[in-house]
């Protein structure tokens, strides 16, 4: 993965608007968060290959970045994104990677199921 280039991601988001897309959205502290530090409240979620469609999508901030997608009945939001994959299949694959090199957030869109 490479550090996010905001303009390139914005172009991809524009190109994906107004059509059905598969989304992978994930936030995680890791399964061992409380094992190593009992003051931590471990939480995680992911949704994989749900179908969404947005009329407006943008990437904001100066890094780490935020992404928001405006849906017909709601929103998709992700914060903390730092890295992107230069993906030959035309998918958008973004991740937030912390100072230890661990993935903490993932935001991905594709025309095909992941």
């Amino acid at each position: 993965m490479i550090p996010i280039q905001k303009d390139a991601i914005q172009k991809q988001l524009d190109a994906f608007a107004n059509e059905p897309l598969y989304i992978h959205l994930e936030l995680t502290m890791g399964a061992y968060a409380a094992h190593f530090d009992s003051s931590k409240h471990p939480a995680a979620n992911f949704i994989r290959n749900a179908v969404i469609q947005y009329s407006q999508g943008s990437i904001e901030g100066h890094g780490p970045y935020r992404v928001g997608l405006k849906l017909e009945h709601g929103w998709v939001y992700a914060e903390g994104l730092t890295h992107a994959v230069e993906d030959e299949d035309g998918r958008i694959i973004l991740a937030g990677i912390n100072s230890e090199g661990k993935l903490v957030v993932a935001f991905q869109l594709s025309k095909q199921p992941f």
Binding site: M1, A31, F46, I93, E100, G101, L103
Partner: protein, 218 residues
């Protein structure tokens, strides 16, 4: 008679930490080892530092790492069962049990290694151990293989006592180190062993024994 060993864990790298030295020792003594690995650890957070993987490439990379780790240990028979990381506890129990039962019946092991259900921290670990115990519980007691468990929750010793089996692996630290090193997207090997000589007294003290709890069936 040499052992026929079945190892059942959910994630690539579970084999490397807790028992790679023990497995290498058994293999050197003539054991046949089958390792059933339920998932590819595809939801892992570690992607290498700097990242060598991403969410979508991670399963393939971890599969290659798993194969390399098994080669380092000498495991002859690796089965990847195709479950999804983090989801083992949500699968219908009969689906997981059937997958493990089918391998058990084919291999007919004399010794089984898995996670101690309820004491293994990661939900996939507990669900995997619980399935192995359910499958073996069905057997008549005289047919049941010995089961050695790994458990590392903070209440493991308090509830179950000290591990009753301790295996000296000081002659197999190279295999253990190489198995852990094979999982390069997950670990920096230097963080584990420092820059210590693998044969140093300090490494032998810290890593020279692997410990297990024998599972007592009801």
């Amino acid at each position: 008679m040499s052992e026929k060993i079945l190892v059942v864990f959910p994630h690539p790298d579970d084999e490397a930490f807790g028992l790679s030295g023990t497995l290498a020792k058994f293999v050197a003594e003539g054991a046949q080892v089958t390792y059933a690995c339920l998932t590819l650890g595809e939801m892992g957070r570690a992607l290498g530092n700097p990242p060598i993987a991403n969410r979508e490439s991670l399963p393939l990379i971890r599969k290659e790492e798993l194969i390399a780790s098994c080669q380092a240990i000498g495991i002859q028979d690796l089965r990847m069962l195709g479950f999804m990381d983090k989801t083992v506890e949500f699968e219908p129990k009969e689906v997981v049990d059937a997958a493990i039962r089918s391998i058990y019946e084919e291999v007919k092991p004399t010794l089984v290694f898995t996670f101690f259900p309820g004491y293994s921290v990661h939900p996939d670990h507990d669900a995997t151990g619980a399935s192995v115990i359910r499958v073996l519980q069905e057997l008549p007691a005289e047919e049941r293989p010995k089961v050695l468990c790994i458990g590392f929750s903070h209440n493991m010793v308090q509830d179950n006592g000290e591990p009753d089996v301790s295996i000296d692996i000081t002659n197999y630290l190279v295999q253990k180190r190489n198995a852990i090193a094979a999982h390069q997207s997950q670990f920096q090997i230097s963080e584990m062993f420092g820059n210590e000589d693998i044969h140093s007294e300090e490494v032998k003290q810290r890593f020279g024994k692997e410990k297990f709890w024998t599972y007592s069936f009801q």
